[in-house]
């Protein structure tokens, strides 16, 4: 289990190798990578700046990761989130979930992303070619994405 919040880019292959090195209990590794889109609402963007809440961010990511380990038999996991100014095409976030079998790894990776997006204190600001910049609004679809995990954890009786 590990979380990192840092400005520099990550190397997905190197992160997987580091996570699985010397391990023979892992049979499935699922990764998700989020990248910067070059347009928002049909308008091109020139950069995206990520602000965060130092201390709380790491604490929330660790809580989200611990929750995933409670729900699925994970062998290893990693969350890396970049901060600062990024360009279209740049990596933003990496989630890796490793387990003995694929279902746990697939589900945990999706859960980690849904929870991260709803709980981790990051805020995106997009700059446009005319020099204006605006904060990205939270999306209803992200709230819905995290709520389906609540339903699953508390089935109707």
């Amino acid at each position: 289990m590990a979380v990192r919040v840092e400005p520099q880019d990550f190397d997905i292959g190197a992160e997987i190798a580091s996570l699985t090195s010397g391990r023979t209990d892992i049979g499935a590794v699922v990764t998700f990578t989020g990248t910067v889109r070059g347009a928002a609402g049909g308008q091109p963007i020139t950069s995206m700046t990520l602000e965060h809440y130092p201390g709380m961010t790491e604490a929330e990511l660790a809580r989200v990761e611990a929750e995933a380990h409670d729900r699925w038999p994970l062998s290893a996991s990693l969350i890396v989130h970049r901060i600062g100014e990024l360009r279209p095409g740049d990596n933003i976030v990496l989630v890796i979930a490793a387990s003995a079998h694929r279902h746990a790894a697939f589900e945990a990776a999706e859960f980690l992303m849904d929870y991260l997006k709803s709980r981790a204190p990051f805020w995106k600001k997009e700059a446009r070619p005319d020099g204006n910049a605006s904060w990205v609004d939270a999306r209803e679809s992200d709230t819905a994405a995290v709520e389906r995990w609540h339903k699953r954890s508390a089935p109707k009786v």
């Binding site: 604490a59 997006k117 204190p121 805020w123 609004d137």
Partner: protein, 109 residues
């Protein structure tokens, strides 16, 4: 035990008591993203009046402090809060809080 020894008990920190005997509830307020931009600064230390018991009370109190705060909290339902780096709802009690943060809904990932 000498008077210079640090107080290791978990009782109230009497060093924070105001001269008149009422506890000056000193907290650090932190603001992020557009809440920070509208307030005009990222962080400040304030002494909370004793009647400020919850996040909602604090928001009402801040809104009366000036135009920048009134602007930042014009729609309090879209501002989120954390106490000591944990998400809380607006009815959360401030008792014992050291750091209270206000920010928009998060947009990471």
């Amino acid at each position: 035990m000498g008077v210079d020894e640090p107080d290791m008990t978990l009782g109230p920190d009497t060093s924070r008591n105001a001269p008149n005997g009422t506890e000056a509830n000193r907290v650090t307020l932190r603001y992020f993203a557009w809440v920070r931009e509208k307030v005009g600064h990222a962080e400040e230390e304030v002494s909370l009046p004793p009647e400020i018991a919850t996040i909602a009370d604090l928001v009402d109190w801040l809104r009366r402090r000036g135009d920048t705060y009134a602007s930042a909290f014009a729609r309090p339902e879209v501002v989120r809060a954390a106490i000591d780096q944990t998400h809380v709802r607006t009815d959360a009690a401030l008792h014992g809080a050291r750091e209270i943060a206000f920010f928009p809904p998060v947009t990471g990932g």
